[in-house]
Point group: C2
Chain length 250, copies 2
Amino acid sequence: MQRLDIKSALTRREAAKKPPEDKSPCSACSVRHLTVCAALDESELAEVSAISKTIELAAGGPLFDEGEKASNLYNVTAGTIKIYKLLSDGRRQVTGFLFPGDFVGLANESLYAYSAEAVTVCTVCRFSRRELEPLLDRHPKMERRLLGMASHELAAAQEQMLLLGRKTAKEKIASFLLSLSQRAQDRGQSGNPVTLAMSRTDIGDFLGLTTETVSRTFTHLRSAGVIVLHPGGKVEIPGINRLREISEGL
Amino acid sequence: MQRLDIKSALTRREAAKKPPEDKSPCSACSVRHLTVCAALDESELAEVSAISKTIELAAGGPLFDEGEKASNLYNVTAGTIKIYKLLSDGRRQVTGFLFPGDFVGLANESLYAYSAEAVTVCTVCRFSRRELEPLLDRHPKMERRLLGMASHELAAAQEQMLLLGRKTAKEKIASFLLSLSQRAQDRGQSGNPVTLAMSRTDIGDFLGLTTETVSRTFTHLRSAGVIVLHPGGKVEIPGINRLREISEGL
DNA sequence: CGTGAAGTTGAGTATGCTCAACGGTGGTGG
DNA sequence: CCACCACCGTTGAGCATACTCAACTTCACG
């Protein structure tokens, strides 16, 4: 799946080398319907293409760091990105995983409030903040869309606060699997089995648990027959309704 | 302070009864510079006035409930509001406290993703979503401001996730006090002593702790001479730098 | 096939929770 | 006006969930 996306990203880059034509490279974007670029017409897409640049990241590669000047915004087009914050002693909280179509880099202040790093090989579209803002002024439709995406993220953040503050380890893992499954389905991929692209450490840092507890809880759910762990981070969920109950503490 | 704000709200309502004049009631809004209405000119303010209604809430009064149709948006002008989510067994996570100037009710989907309830006596400005949206279309400046406020809330949500997932009880309480102090200062009020308008239960539900642990931790910080507890929920912070260290685990 | 990172499992522990009791306070009704 | 009651906050004792430290296994990669 990653390999496939990289291939399409390369195709997009080749298109960018060609002289201007009636179709912009963004026209071919396979995740456009999920992004801030949804519902733009051809001429608007061309404007966006003109100020965007496709970037590839190796697994583990940094996109930006907390405290850095927030001069760019990014659209994920392939792969998985994690965003996180650190405490001075190294404790880490992953505040989100980003998948194709997700937007990253919004910062009200001039500095990024968190770090972003590729979990897998990734492709992202980069926009300079300076160039994007006037474009947003001219296209309220796009700004409205951005506000909608920010509201959506805000709702997700609140759901995550509920998880972090009030759920048990078992409920956290169950909620996490269901959320990954849902997001895969939103992208037209399989929601079952679901693929975990990230490490146990990343999952722990996302759920407010240690890797040991994450591992033990997976084992526990496996013993209970709710999930089956396959190689390559694939998790089959035969008991998806049971998992839903567990995620809500029933 | 609450009493004062209520008085100004009444003044505002009286103004609304008068025939149209060159100054809209919003002109007198004491927290406008903090709100989405900042940087609007007189004619724009008049438009906003026309579709807003001032509402008063008793302490404990509900503003809206999770799952309700999100037909209104609100601007807090006086008092403290809490927003929260519930699990089916009654576990609660307070996801935020709102103070004058804060905006509440953004919902990407058509339903509210959380409940909102007055902590103290409150005054809020109500906008119908249906009426506000066309106004935003005509005033990109206002929409940009809204996006900025949403980004700011997103950053705060991430900071809160770090707190919930990775901080100890002591660090949580210290961070909480500092954040309240900062927000009071942003509103031109005293940052020290800071007033806790909410109950221990609300604080616990915000920080992912029980009331007992909140209480014990306050006692501990008091014994350590970092804070002094005064009647009326006032907390004096003689050791504010020590509190900063504690909040980061030093 | 060797090496190092990632994942799993186990034993013991600590932080924060549960359950319980008690003091203070504010609102209510006799 | 005062007694009563409910609620809030505080404190204590015991306990459980998830953490720490450690060993071992599995897996990916050279």
